[in-house]
């Protein structure tokens, strides 16, 4: 039993060492930042289209839909740029983590309620999809958001020398 515990402990340290290694700590924020900058772009280019997507979720009360459509894309862009540049990096990681949790709650809520929607996360070709295809897409979006959330944790919780803190 004791040996088992020891082995687990060494594995854990090795994992932490890997997660806080220089390359991971350099690559993860940049990759996560690029994802958010990319996803913000179409929304910044066309706020009315994004407002409609937010409304389609049927979660926010009406008076909040347009303010969210005005501010959220810029929040994604600025947080993404902060992650890439390293300026305010941890704060940006916190914001992105919170945004991802909110997105996941919104997607799951609509999955449970049976509301088929286009995620609106990334620019997509405007083609009519069946509800089944939309639900499958929403599940994939959830999985992707979970992966991105892990990346934001890496930026938020690691303390390697390479990251400015």
């Amino acid at each position: 039993m004791a040996e088992q515990g020891m082995a687990d402990h060494t594995g854990e340290t090795a994992m932490i060492r890997l997660l806080e290694s220089r390359w991971i700590s350099l690559l993860v924020p940049v990759a996560l930042g690029l994802v958010f900058v990319y996803s913000s772009w179409a929304k910044i280019a066309d706020p009315p289209a994004f407002a409609e997507m937010v409304w389609n979720y049927r979660i926010l009360p009406g008076f909040l839909v347009n303010p969210v459509a005005i501010v959220l894309p810029w929040l994604e862009l600025l947080a993404g740029l902060a992650l890439i540049s390293g300026f305010l990096r941890k704060g940006a990681a916190l914001l992105i983590g919170v945004m991802l949790v909110v997105f996941m709650v919104a997607l799951s809520t609509d999955l449970v309620r049976g509301i088929a929607i286009e995620c609106g996360c990334f620019p997509t070709a405007a083609e009519a999809k069946t509800p089944l295809a939309l639900f499958a897409g929403m599940k994939l979006d959830l999985l992707r958001d979970a992966g991105l959330l892990l990346l934001s944790f890496q930026v938020l919780f690691s303390r390697p020398a390479a990251t400015k803190c």
Partner: protein
């Protein structure tokens, strides 16, 4: 972990996003801009009282009878092709409320038959606009639920280009 500092950093980014977002929104063209608070936003509990859904065939008959048609889709889509004589009121764009008011200013009476349409299928822009019109006092509002694609595919009268 210095949570105080991290939250402060997050707050700085959030405040910057609010400023840049509201700042840029003010300078956009109306087709690329949203109003902070549109006049009608939430779908009502029972929308059937405010407008009536009709099929494309019924809409065509109303068109021939001289009903007013209103296109709820985006400006760019309207310009690519719309039902003949349709008025453009893109429901998600900035001046939708003003354009509804402008209808009344043009002397269109609240009892005229108004047919609203969007791109058919699951599109809800026409229903949203129908609500706006109903709240503005129009009481003969119809929604063509087959929408523009069905109208176009049947070869019924359409025109292209900007609104005259």
């Amino acid at each position: 972990m210095n949570w105080k500092r991290i939250s402060a950093e997050a707050a700085i980014i959030l405040i910057a996003a609010v400023f840049v977002g509201s700042g840029t929104n003010g300078f956009r063209s109306e087709a690329r801009r949203v109003s902070w608070i549109p006049r009608v936003v939430a779908p009502p509990k029972d929308p059937s009282l405010l407008y009536v859904e009709i099929t494309g065939e019924v809409a065509l008959r109303l068109h021939r009878a001289g009903a007013i048609f209103i296109d709820a889709r985006r400006t760019s889509v309207y310009e690519q092709g719309h039902i003949e004589n349709a008025i453009s009121i893109p429901v998600w764009e900035y001046d939708a409320d003003n354009r509804v008011s402008a209808l009344q200013a043009k002397g269109i009476k609240p009892d005229v038959v108004v047919v609203v349409y969007c791109s058919g299928g699951n599109c809800e822009d026409a229903a949203r606009l129908a609500l706006k019109l109903a709240k503005a006092g129009f009481f003969n509002v119809y929604v063509d639920k087959d929408g523009f694609p069905a109208w176009q595919s049947k070869g019924w009268p359409i025109t292209r280009g900007k609104q005259r």
